[in-house]
């Protein structure tokens, strides 16, 4: 399980980074989304992986670490807020400059 999750995080990161380095706003948005999945999973993994141990208090149970979960929960929502803001920023830039290129200088 640990190895699988590590691979997932690695692939998500690689894809996210590659997309963020593209020159148009849309792939950058996609990349940012993928990268935030990776980061959320990584943060979540810092509490270690537990199966069938949700942090809901009940008699005689063992629990997964609730703290990273709380952190990641807000991170997911804030991540959405960030993505939405960037998307709107991209549209604004499109209307100001007439192009969806991330740069003023035209790199490819």
């Amino acid at each position: 399980m640990e190895v699988l999750l590590s691979i997932a995080i690695g692939v998500l990161t690689a894809c996210g980074v590659f997309l963020i380095l593209r020159s148009r706003t849309f792939p950058v948005l996609l990349g940012l989304t993928l990268l935030s999945y990776a980061v959320n999973l990584f943060l979540f993994a810092s509490g270690r992986l537990r199966v069938d141990a949700p942090p809901l208090i009940r008699a005689g149970a063992s629990y997964a670490d609730p703290l990273p979960q709380a952190l990641v929960l807000t991170a997911i929502v804030i991540g959405f807020g960030m993505t939405a803001y960037l998307a709107i920023l991209a549209l604004r830039a499109l209307s100001e400059s007439g192009a969806d290129h991330v740069d003023t200088e035209q790199e490819r």
């Binding site: 699988l4 590590s6 990161t13 380095l21 989304t33 999973l41 979960q69 709107i88």
Partner: protein, 934 residues
């Protein structure tokens, strides 16, 4: 008030009140000036209250702890030297306040001028009263900064700005050297307190770091006191208003350098290195600037070079390092401050009355302003060292010290010769000033007709000139006590025997004085050929050299910035990722090697399949990102797999949140896609592709390894407290939710505030945003203009109450079971956004609350209000309470005040998501409208 408080009150008053003139400038000019005078006056009064104890031979120390761990305390010291300088700063400051009131044009409201002047005075007082050298440096830098503002007071003039910038660059650079020197000094002695350092002279001089310390500190001193070769800033700072020059360049700013020389003399003086560096620099400055002064046509330019020359004289005296020479140096500090301040003020009067300061045009002023002329002539005589004036006394002491100096036994005529030449040059330029300005025929082509200045504008000059005479004729009765305590404090040991008197008998110094007088007259008589000779010399402008270096540095900085900051986001991102990679690799290999073994959470087939889907989805989206719709769907798949991972790994709350956010993200992406141009981006170049691929692979591989390392490392949770206290302390069994709304409620409050800001910022960005929507898609098919499909809209309408019920349920159970404000808010907003999608903007708009700002504020107010409510019960912010409530039908419900907090979270989340998505959707209406018009 005891004396400690009095001492602390001196700079405290100045710093506390420096803005007073600015605040009062609306009331009127006179009030503004009075306020400035009152501040100067109160500082002077405080100094005078402490003076008797100092004259009795004490020195005052006062200390307030500031950063004791770094050896920096607010410790002040008032001894003879500090007293002398404080009196000069406050006394001459008071005169300058009066003078500036008349000098500056009546249209000037004066508030800014006086406030900067007071700030400068405060900093100067800080410099001369500091016991701690780091503290001294802080004040030292404030003097540089505030003098920059003063010199650039007429900031619409190019000259002023250049002059100010140069002064700041030179003195600021010296300040850096001084900082280094002081840090080394503190390193050697183990303390930054003067009382320790002054008594550790032998230890410092024997230390291998002595030479670097001395050189660094002297750099600070020489730049501040305009010693050769750093002197060039001072003449350019003459673009300051004349009251500023009278203050900064007679008694204060430039004297800060020689003050430090005097202050650190017991710690650093007494070596060959000191002698050669200090006296050598002083001697060169003395002669070079005296010669330059003669050829200046601008009155202030002449006075500026004369100031540099006199500072060189003082530096030379400290460098000569016979005990009596130090006394003479302190004495000359006093005398120079008095006569130079009055000369600058007189020059200002002439400028004010004539409209020019060019000595080739300003002539014959004696007839037009006899009183001012008399005053200026007396002051100039003092500058030249004519008997009966104060300048004569210290100059004769200087001549005396040059004769038979122990370092010059072999060539004992050299030093007296240099001194006599410098004296003769001083006589010559003083004579030029007097003769050219006040006699020498009639004025040429003056902008206005000069006459005597207003009565009170002349008063400061009268007072200063009176002092010149009193000190010059009755030195024992006037200046002697002050000089004695100041010199004793400088030497930090008993004073050598000396006698201040006009007549010491017919001796060598007197002969040198007479020679200098005769030589000066002779040089001035030869001025015509001299000026002709000087006119054909190649003009050497340190200012242009400075400007060249300055421009060179600026353009080098620009080039560096241009290399790093090309304005390309792609480049920034690549650099950022590369940098993070380097950091990560470094941390990975230097971190603890704690790979024990991987825990054995067995993976099943489902897990394999899920991760396969995730990998396929993300790699597919990456490869196919040009097929945008497909890429969005693939990313959606990835998001769902992430949610499934949360489900599997015991994080139900996260899974719910991820599911809901995923829906929102897809809608967002599709909306954005609609507006973004569909044309394909050109292919990236091969080298760029390789670069990006390498970065991506290293980043991904790196994070994978780090995750593995983390998961293999021993782990001890820090969440024990939350698990234990969740039910008894927070009243909920869903620990994640209790953490969010209770234990870490303050964090959550911050996070929903960020979300609210996202909504506001999006609203601002979307405001009046008009986008041209393409009529056709990438393949040339026209966009559908059909109304919203009936089937969908009919299906979705009854869905709304159902979804809302679900979200209420999720919200209510959140404290105990997976759910809560975040999740419920996301579900509600998805339900509402679906209404927009299915029924169109107009339909949804009519049924929605209009004012998003009100809802946002309401949410934030609820969340922070419930937090503040705990203050009513004398508890800290966001303390929660909980209890059981019996509800009909539902049964016993545990209610916690955290629920209200969660309600705030819910409101904010709903408003943010709906505002952003519906705002994006409404853009299309405007875009269509735009098209209809065009």
């Amino acid at each position: 008030m005891n004396s400690d408080t009095l001492l602390l009150a001196i700079p405290a008053t100045a710093f506390a009140a420096f803005l007073l003139p600015l605040l009062l400038q609306r009331v009127g000019r006179a009030v503004t000036a009075l306020a400035a005078a009152a501040v100067m006056g109160s500082c002077l009064t405080l100094v005078l209250q402490l003076a008797p104890a100092i004259f009795a031979g004490d020195s005052q120390l006062a200390r307030l702890g500031w950063l004791p761990a770094y050896g920096l305390d607010l410790s002040l010291r008032l001894d003879g030297l500090g007293l002398l300088f404080s009196l000069l700063i406050c006394g001459i400051g008071l005169l300058v306040v009066l003078y500036a009131f008349y000098y500056l044009p009546a249209s000037d409201p004066l508030g800014r001028f006086y406030s900067i002047l007071l700030l400068f005075m405060a900093a100067m007082l800080g410099v001369v009263l500091s016991e701690n050298l780091l503290l001294l440096l802080v004040f030292w830098e404030i003097t540089s900064l505030s003098s920059f503002l003063l010199v650039a007071y007429s900031h619409n003039k190019y000259e002023s700005r250049i002059g100010a910038r140069m002064a700041l660059a030179v003195t600021g650079g010296g300040g850096l050297a001084l900082l280094a020197g002081i840090l080394l000094l503190g390193h050697v002695t183990g303390s930054y307190e003067l009382s320790v350092i002054l008594s550790a002279g032998d230890q410092i001089r024997a230390h291998p770091l002595y030479a670097p310390i001395l050189i660094l500190i002297l750099l600070g001193v020489f730049t501040k006191s305009a010693q050769f070769p750093f002197h060039f800033w001072l003449p350019n700072a003459m673009s300051a208003p004349t009251p500023v020059s009278a203050y900064l360049h007679s008694a204060t700013m430039v004297k800060a350098g020689v003050f430090l020389l005097a202050r650190l003399f017991p710690a650093l003086g007494g070596t060959d290195l000191w002698f050669w560096l200090v006296s050598g620099t002083g001697a060169i400055t003395l002669v070079y600037s005296a010669a330059t002064a003669l050829f200046r046509h601008d009155i202030k330019g002449l006075l500026a070079y004369s100031t540099i020359s006199h500072l060189g004289l003082i530096t030379l005296l400290f460098g000569l390092d016979t005990r009596l020479s130090t006394v003479a140096g302190v004495f000359h500090i006093i005398n120079h401050a008095i006569f130079k301040a009055s000369l600058f003020m007189a020059a200002g009067v002439i400028d004010h009355e004539c409209g020019t300061r060019d000595m080739r045009r300003v002539n014959g002023m004696f007839k037009r302003m006899p009183i001012t002329a008399t005053l200026a002539i007396i002051a100039a005589a003092s500058m030249a060292g004519v008997p009966l004036m104060n300048g004569f006394l210290s100059k004769e002491m200087f001549f005396g010290e040059t004769v038979g100096h122990p370092q010059f036994e072999a060539i004992d005529w050299l030093l007296p010769l240099v001194a006599t030449i410098a004296g003769a040059l001083a006589v010559a330029y003083s004579l030029r000033f007097v003769h050219d300005v006040f006699f020498n025929g009639e004025p040429i082509d003056l902008p206005r007709e000069p006459h005597e200045p207003p009565r009170w504008m002349r008063a400061p000059i009268e007072l200063l000139v009176l002092l010149c005479l009193l000190v010059g004729i009755f030195p024992q009765l006037t200046v002697a006590p002050l000089l004695r305590v100041a010199a004793a404090a400088t030497l930090q040991s008993p004073l050598p025997a000396f006698e201040l008197a006009l007549w010491h008998g017919f001796n060598k110094p007197l002969m040198m004085s007479l020679l200098a007088l005769a030589g000066g007259v002779f040089v001035y008589a030869l001025r015509a050929p001299l000026f002709a000779w000087q006119g054909q010399l190649p003009t050497m402008h340190p200012r242009t050299a400075f400007e060249r270096v300055y421009r060179l540095l600026v353009s080098a900085a620009r080039r560096t910035v241009a290399v790093l900051d090309s304005g390309s986001l792609q480049r920034y991102n690549a650099l950022l990722f590369a940098f993070v990679l380097v950091l990560g690799i470094w941390a990975f290999f230097s971190g603890p090697k704690t790979i024990v073994r991987l825990p054995d959470q067995a993976a099943n087939e489902a897990a394999f399949l899920a991760v396969c889907a995730l990998v396929l989805g993300s790699v597919g989206a990456t490869l196919l990102y040009r097929q945008r719709l497909l890429a969005v769907m693939l990313v959606g798949v990835v998001g769902l797999v992430v949610a499934l991972i949360f489900v599997r790994l015991s994080a139900p709350d996260l899974a719910l949140t991820q599911f809901a956010v995923e829906t929102g993200t897809i809608v967002l992406m599709l909306l954005v896609l609609y507006y973004l141009p569909a044309r394909q981006a050109p292919r990236s170049s091969a080298s760029r592709l390789v670069r990006d691929l390498l970065l991506a692979i290293f980043a991904g591989g790196g994070l994978m390894l780090v995750t593995l390392q983390m998961l293999a490392a021993p782990f001890e949770t820090i969440s024990g407290f939350y698990l234990q206290q969740s039910v008894p302390g927070g009243g909920g069994t869903n620990v994640v939710n209790v953490i969010l709304v209770d234990f870490r409620g303050f964090d959550t409050l911050g996070e929903i505030t960020v979300l609210a800001m996202v909504a506001l910022a999006s609203h601002a960005l979307l405001d009046r945003l008009v986008l041209v929507v393409p009529r056709y898609d990438a393949d040339g098919r026209p966009w559908s203009r059909e109304a919203h499909p009936l089937f969908l809209s009919m299906l979705v309408r009854p869905l709304l109450p159902l979804t809302l019920t679900v979200s209420v349920y999720i919200f209510l159970r959140g404290h105990n079971l997976p759910g809560g404000g975040f999740v419920a808010g996301l579900i509600t907003s998805v339900a509402l956004v679906v209404q927009y999608l299915a029924n169109g903007n107009a339909f949804a708009q009519r049924r929605m609350p209009r004012n998003a700002a009100v809802l946002l504020s309401l949410g934030l107010l609820l969340a922070s209000g419930v937090g503040m409510a705990s203050w009513l019960f004398d508890r800290p912010f966001l303390t929660t309470a909980h209890g059981h409530v019996e509800l009909p039908l539902i049964g016993e419900v545990e209610l916690a005040s955290a629920m209200i907090f969660d309600l705030g979270v819910y409101l904010v989340v709903v408003t943010v998501v709906v505002t952003v998505l519906s705002g994006l959707g409404r853009l299309s209406e405007r875009a269509h409208g735009q098209k209809a018009v065009s």
